[in-house]
Amino acid sequence: MSVLDTLKSLIGGAKKDIDKNLTKEAESVEEAADSIQTSSEEEIEIKSDSETISEEEPLEAEAPAEEEIIVPVEEEEAPEEEAEEEVEAEEAPVEEEAVEEAVEEVPEEEVSLDEEEESTDDKLSEDEESLEVAVEEVAEEEASEENEESDNMTLLKENDIYSMDDIDKEFTQKFVDAGIETVDHCFQCGTCGGGCPSGRRTPYRVRQIVRKCLLGLREEVVSDPALWMCTTCYTCQERCPRSVKIVDIIKMARNEAAKAGYMADSHKATGSYVIKFGHGVPINDKTKDLRKAIGLDELPPTVHSHPEALEEIQKICTACEFDKLIGFNMETGELE
């Protein structure tokens, strides 16, 4: 039970952050709503105005994507402007400002959501629900009810919970045995992900992978296609305040993924070139001509000029069962 709790708190850490964010968002929406309320106390007609807003809200809140959260608000101004004509013109700008202010805070919080959480979509729709609720029931809404709403979101779904069955201690041990015991030194600061050029364009989250490797979440690590989005540029490793050999961890995890059958066909092809030619990028006719034209030997003095050397490479590949790993048939000389 204690292990489970630890796991939940470790991996659910990101989720708690989100709940905090959601609470903040709800607060800011409340702020906006408060100001609407304030004005409606002064002018009865304004109340109908705030109803206009809440009627519009559900339509716009249907948009699921996070970026579009900003859009509805800008569009919100339109119905308000229409309403302005019906209501006292003086009051309207106040609401607009308040709503804008509240919503401006939303995208800011979204950034951290983006960075850390994969299931943002779910959260966002819930998030929008709370927005809706907040605006509709502004007048009566109490802070405690808001908290209840956020509490619900902390409930983990069945498949969000790791059990001991997900843990493979041998998986973690492989890193230690390979001399990458620094996997245990990581304190999850996130410096690695902050500088990662892949992390800013793909779902690759290096900090998360390091954590999962330490916890022994083998299947999650090896089956994740994002594992292959690292270019081994070492930016993370250079900046790691705990000197964790991050790139070594990623490569070792990929070794395990390859063994488990998660290797792309294009990678098998690259591997097959080394078995066939001794080079990942073998020579071609065009370069042979080019070499000759500038006074170099047509074939470089590598395995290309030494068939016995190529044989050695092939023997090494067979001895290491690299041919089996990539599905290369030594008899036919092709990938299966």
Partner: protein, 294 residues
């Protein structure tokens, strides 16, 4: 001085002008480049290292053993080869059990053994430390008055804790200094130390992600207003040459930065022709920039 010259794959099998320029330069410097007969793919650190460490380390150790038999240190002018051979050497020195395992496979499959007696060195580092900027400058006959974007690549300096060429890879100067002695100006640009996007098997696995990296680099270079790109890695070279045309096709851009390996830049400074340096065989036309030099 003698050195075992490790060719790798991309330089000699795609851009032989880099090899040609290097052989001419080292001849002038009176450093003998000895061919490593029967050397293979390094093999690529991010790709083969990602597939199976044992296969990768055994093939790399075989290459190291060839240099050991020659009694010389290894020189490569490819960041990938440098990374792979250096990392394997480091691994086998740190991990005696792994060394025994790899040597057992080598004994079974070849007549070679890894002993740990060679040093893996990058051409740029040899030129900087062993030859020196002053002596290098004496080789040049032509002043190259162009603005260039210097691209370090990833495996030349990193991981600094193991490589030790520069203390930090955040703001290094070695390559800029090596470039500027030709008269070319190294222009600062955004994300200068960022990866070209090709490494780690990403180019083969997901070309779109790779091109997104490359475009980010090219955008920054365009903003800085450079004439050409200079690097010390044939794989980065390929990515900026071939990849640049791929970026143009994918994003509708019209980038046209000629790509020069440091050896080719030195070739120009020594007065070699575009043909000798095989610029004419590269996808991005170097002629407009070369005319600027004439």
């Amino acid at each position: 001085m003698e050195i075992a010259y490790f060719l790798g794959c991309i330089m000699n099998n795609r851009y032989p002008g880099i090899e040609k320029a290097t052989r001419i330069l080292f001849d002038k410097l009176d450093i003998e480049l000895k061919d490593m007969e029967g050397a293979s793919c390094c093999p690529a650190p991010g790709v083969f290292g990602s597939f199976d460490q044992t296969t990768w380390a055994t093939i790399a150790a075989r290459n190291l053993a060839i240099a050991e038999e020659m009694g010389a240190d290894i020189m490569t002018e490819c960041n990938g080869c440098f990374g792979s051979l250096r990392e394997c050497d480091h691994l086998l020195k740190e991990n005696p059990a792994k060394k025994d395992e790899i040597n057992a496979i080598l004994a079974e499959t070849t007549d070679k053994q890894y002993k740990g007696e060679t040093k893996v060195r990058h051409m740029a580092e040899i030129l900087y430390n062993d030859v020196g900027l002053d002596k290098l400058s004496e080789m040049f006959t032509k002043d190259l008055g162009i603005n260039v974007a210097v691209h370090y690549g990833c495996h030349f300096l990193k991981p600094t804790a193991e490589v030790g060429i520069e203390e930090s890879a955040e703001n290094p100067t070695i390559l800029d200094e090596l470039v500027e002695i030709t008269g070319a100006k190294s222009v600062p640009y955004k994300n200068k130390m960022m990866c070209c996007g090709a490494g780690g098997g990403l180019r083969a696995r997901d070309i779109d992600v790779t091109l997104s990296y490359t475009k980010e680099k090219l955008d920054a270079m365009a903003e800085a207003g450079v004439d050409a790109i200079v690097e010390v890695c044939p794989f980065c070279h390929l990515q900026f040459d071939v990849g640049q045309t791929e970026v143009n096709a994918k994003y509708g851009t019209d980038f046209a930065f000629p790509v020069m390996h440091l050896a080719q830049l030195y070739g120009l400074a020594m007065g070699l022709s575009a043909e000798e340096l095989t610029f004419d065989a590269q996808l991005i036309d170097a002629a407009p920039v070369l005319e600027k030099l004439a």
